[in-house]
Symmetry: C2
Subunit: 696 residues, 2 copies
């Protein structure tokens, strides 16, 4: 492109961007998929899936002719695809229609990210790293979404639309619910997500009733063209609760029969049904241990029922019976010895960290600890512990850190190669808000999850750049600014919420704001914030060393465990996770712990302000509606960062007895004031700016 052309393009795109004020997030990352009218040829029989590929390319591809051809080749899995460009014309091949569709989406992504000529005269193949890349929706049958900050469920809040109306990318339907579901499916397909659990892991037994299964079948029909399988979270007591069986004991013959019959019924309706996700014996949910059985007994009983039909069981390791004084050790303790006892269509689904989706956790020691068992990671896309949909927090960096660690310390890549089911799950942040995710920036996390599930070697920077290019255009002069905002956001949130290894000092229930003083008499110790930080006159932090603490470090391989066991080699970012450090402990920065805390909280607040400043600099270069929506969220975020900083520094100062360091702004809320804050919100709500202001 000549400079002259470049200038013309820049001018044109700048003008177009300024003129628009219509990006309300409802188009997801397809906002710039403009009418291109490309020439697309399908060499093999057209299906609803190839129709999607054709339509997408025709609408948005600005290069030469694209040919789609179904074709197997050595080394390719079903969903692999190959793209070759020659003389401006492109050929996409794959062993499956799904692979052709993924290839089409990938081509469009390359065009938007790098330009249509970036891959001229090249040939490359993409094969997904995980063959099960799934969302977990925590949606309830009453339409609420647990930890949902984007409205109500897209599945259980309105009548199921008629699947027969769906034909590929049919966005012209007048059925708004169908449009929503189609766009949802399209978004998933565009980043390779190929499975979805339609309901909350705190599952209602009614999910398996005939009437609900009828709806599930309809969803399956809508999602199938996009290569998305449906899964269900099931309640382990379903046989007893739903059909009056005397027990739900997994070793009971009648129970086993019930599940076998139920599986048969489901597959008769949905031949490609994916399987079950189970939260058992965790936080009040029923499970095999209620009947004196093991997790393996329970999981295998379900796996046996599904096996004839190719279904799988994802059994969650998020358990913490109070047998050990350290909750971080529980999952490992409960599961480690069951290694090798699970059927081959069972996968143990493990949260990234040993506690619960905190802003920063070390990886869970269960990863790599069960060589004879298939494991999968459960990430949380919805921002339960990250400011809900009020805070801008790109999670690509968080997941990159986690994935790198389990590759480095837990042999993740090698293990995955040995699995039949190479799965990964993300707890969805999707609701029926016009923008799906509470704010448009949060869409980047849905996007990033899909991309990492496809290829965990992508860097967060690459993913941020891709998403930004699709959201506001690669030639927009604010693109690098937005990319940098995304990349700094998670570390900023960690700093103003829980730096240095702090964890779980959130307000109880909704988990929105700070409540490090939380300590309700009579409740389980590990439901109290004070349990996690253990502040006293000497210092702060949870001693998990073998030498003097809970010994959790011993659950890790030596390469990681030895590093964090020693306070001098433990990275500052995990300091208070693994150590009860003196207030005057010298951190790796040279500052004392107390001064480092002051520094970190201020740094978080400064970072939030910096993000806002950077965002403000994009005004005029990007869609004004998008600008205003996100600016409003960032205003809340900065004010919340100040609230976090003030609450935590004021509270921990009552132990450290040291002054707030000179470079830290003095708190503008007293401890008394912040202690009085009670947000009257449920676990299904994002607090409004008005509510927050009235409390602060």
């Amino acid at each position: 492109m000549t400079n002259k052309h470049l200038l013309a393009l820049l001018t044109l795109s700048a003008f177009a961007a300024i003129a628009h004020a219509d990006n309300d997030g409802s188009k997801l990352w397809f906002v710039n998929n403009t009418k291109a009218n490309a020439k697309v040829v399908v060499k093999t029989k057209a299906t609803s899936t190839t129709d999607i590929a054709v339509n997408e390319l025709r609408d948005a591809w600005h290069g030469g002719q694209v040919t789609l051809e179904r074709k197997s080749a050595k080394g390719l899995t079903r969903e692999s695809f190959t793209v070759s460009q020659k003389g401006g014309n492109v050929t996409i091949t794959s062993p499956s229609d799904a692979g052709l569709m993924y290839g089409a989406y990938h081509l469009l992504r390359l065009e938007q990210t790098l330009g249509k000529d970036a891959y001229r005269d090249t040939l490359f193949t993409e094969t997904p790293e995980h063959n099960i890349r799934m969302l977990n929706h925590w949606d309830n049958l009453n339409g609420t979404v647990e930890r949902g900050y984007a409205g109500r469920s897209i599945f259980w809040n309105k009548p199921v639309p008629d699947a027969s109306a769906v034909k590929g990318k049919n966005l012209s339907t007048s059925d708004s619910q169908l449009s929503t579901l189609t766009l949802y499916a399209r978004a998933n397909a565009s980043v390779g997500i190929n499975g979805t659990v339609l309901n909350n892991v705190n599952a209602s037994p009614k999910m398996l009733s005939d009437s609900v299964l009828t709806m599930v079948k309809q969803y399956a029909d809508i999602l199938r063209p996009y290569n998305i399988k449906v899964y269900l979270a099931v309640n382990f007591s379903s046989p007893a609760v739903l059909d009056g069986l005397k027990t739900s004991d997994p070793l009971d013959k009648d129970v086993q029969k019930w599940w076998a019959a139920k599986a048969k019924k489901i597959y008769s309706m949905i031949p490609d049904f994916g399987g079950f996700l189970v939260k058992a014996n965790s936080e009040g949910q029923p499970g095999p241990m209620d009947f004196g059985r093991t997790h393996a007994d329970g999981a295998n009983m379900l796996a046996k029922a599904l096996k004839p039909f190719g279904g799988i069981v994802m059994w969650r390791a998020f358990v913490y019976s109070p047998s050990d004084p350290d909750r971080a050790k529980q999952a490992y303790i409960e599961f480690k010895d069951l290694d090798g006892k699970f059927m081959d269509n069972v996968i143990i689904q493990i949260k990234n960290g040993p506690i619960d989706f905190q802003p920063r956790e070390p990886y869970s020691p269960l990863f790599g600890a069960m060589p004879e068992t298939q494991e999968m990671a459960e990430l949380q896309i919805t921002q339960e512990y990250l400011g809900h949909s009020n805070h801008i927090c790109f999670l690509g960096t968080m997941w990159e850190e986690f994935l790198n660690d389990i590759k480095k310390y837990a042999n993740y890549t090698n293990n995955l190669r040995g699995y039949k089911y190479r799965a990964i799950a993300g707890v969805a942040n999707v609701g029926d808000d016009a923008n799906f995710c509470g704010n448009t920036m949060a869409q980047s996390n849905w996007y990033a999850f899909g991309r990492l599930a496809w290829n965990s070697n992508l860097t967060s920077k690459e993913i941020a750049r891709e998403w930004v290019a699709q959201e506001i255009g690669k030639d927009n002069k604010s693109a690098r600014t937005l990319e940098n905002i995304l990349l700094m956001s998670r570390e900023t949130v960690v700093d103003y919420m829980m730096p240095l290894g702090f964890h779980h000092i959130f307000a109880e229930g909704h988990h929105y704001g700070p409540q490090p003083w939380q300590n309700n008499p009579g409740q389980r110790a590990d439901w109290q914030c004070v349990y996690y930080h253990r502040a006293d006159a000497k210092g702060v932090g949870f001693d998990r060393t073998v030498k003097a603490g809970s010994g959790a470090t011993a659950q890790y391989p030596a390469s990681f465990g030895n590093m964090v066991e020693n306070i001098n080699t433990c990275p500052d970012k995990y300091l208070l996770w693994f150590h009860h450090a003196d207030w005057n402990h010298k951190c790796q920065t040279g500052r004392t712990l107390w001064n480092e805390m002051c520094y970190r909280y201020q740094n978080g607040l400064n970072g939030a302000r910096q993000m806002l400043r950077m965002w403000n600099s994009t005004e005029g270069n990007i869609d004004s509606r998008l600008f205003n929506d996100i600016q409003e969220k960032m205003h809340i975020q900065v004010r919340d960062a100040e609230w976090w900083k003030d609450a935590c520094l004021n509270y921990f100062q009552t132990f450290s007895k040291q002054p707030i360091s000179d470079t830290t702004e003095p708190p503008v809320h007293s401890l008394n004031e912040v202690k009085k804050i009670r947000l009257g919100i449920s676990n299904y709500e994002n607090p409004s700016a008005k509510l927050l202001n009235s409390k602060r």
Copy 2:
């Protein structure tokens, strides 16, 4: 004092301060007047006034014997006093009992500020610069206080206590209202305030009814021992409204007779009654111009009625009939030509600035403009335009600036010498809150007003140091910190509210927060904020130059007028008061106007934070109740500073079209958000933290 003694004293006082948590402000600046049991001798006949002096010294003086002696001497005025110390014993002489009392208070102040031996073997005389040093209470008969931020009226909210119970400093009374009034009187006496207007300048005609005058007499009896005269604000229509006269025309014989009779009646009850304060033909108040007469006609008619009894008329120059497009010029225009037409017991009471008690105004050009007329300054102690009692703002610096300017440019000192009535007034910040002033720091303004009224050559630093010493002790290691907080506070408030000569961009009505966009259709132009700042695409500010604007600079002496007429010599602090400056105008700092605005608002916010940080550093060294009370106020102040900054920068940015400068924190409230803020408070209320938070 030996070092050993000093150390002992410091240790003792530090211990005492830390142990206490009882300073709720209710003791005013007598908090450290501890039981001393000094020996005091009165050489002349004891009176209720000498009793006060004796009691105060006995209770709080830690030096040798004090002898009080009434004695005239050359060059001394009635209230002058002489203090001589010899061998540890002190003699105070004065021509009057009042002077002896003032001498006693001065001696105690010296002890607390400098130590009891600071003036050993010295002899000095103090003579007040003004002979009328008065408070103006804007209290209404219904108990409210206009622009009162410390509760309700101490005069009109409860039954008047029995004056016969008052015997000097009788603090042991069980009548809490009497305690309040006695402490009020004591506070005034301690700083030399010798007059008080008991009611609002927006005066009810009922003030002159027999029943109210009976109460006024009782107050006069309570205040008299403290050398405090009572005055009343009167409604010019009183004859017609109160007694049904056909008119209140000052040239009407019946009206004149009515006032003469009223004066006679008042003096029969209160022989030392001070006189009348009048707000006439201003903001809807009646006045002589309603009858085609002049301010002189009206003032002289009242002066004539009071003259036989020695009473005076204070006639306010706060008028602004809309005859000129520039409100700042009105008072000068209405009064200048009346010079020489007022009786010799009339004083024209002029607000310090030409508009209305703004955070910063240039001095009013009426000062020095009427050489044949007695003038007096009206200062505002209550913080109508300075964050009410929520913001810490010491006004000594503001008044010092004003007094220096009128000395430098308006010949104030010389004029004063020529006056029979050398008066100065301050609009009181007193209410029935336990701490009298809404917060304890605001007491320093009451104190500072009294001290400056006595001696306008005192620096704000000297006054701050005196007050701090009495409030927390001179040996307290936080004394200098508190002094510095006070001294930086007003400039900080100016910066975050209205830097660079901005004025009157307050929310309408209550005047608490920012509302620079205020522009109500159909109302007087000069009641709109946009009238005062005149922002447009070119620049901002009110052009008051002769060359291109309203010509207000011509009302000043050349020494001041020429300086401010020229944009290059006009001090930046008055820039937008006198000029409509371009957004890119180069300020004296080298920054452009827009960048200087960004800098100033940020500087104000930083200053508020710095004050809070400094205050925090006093924790443990001062009474913890005082610490907490003020910290809470400072929290509000910082949050308000952010609100002001965000509102003003966001709003003016819509005109400047320039980015917020890099060194300024990006606003965390959008213009839309701040525009929605409406504080539901009257002109009698201080907004609570809760109300403010619910709105922001």
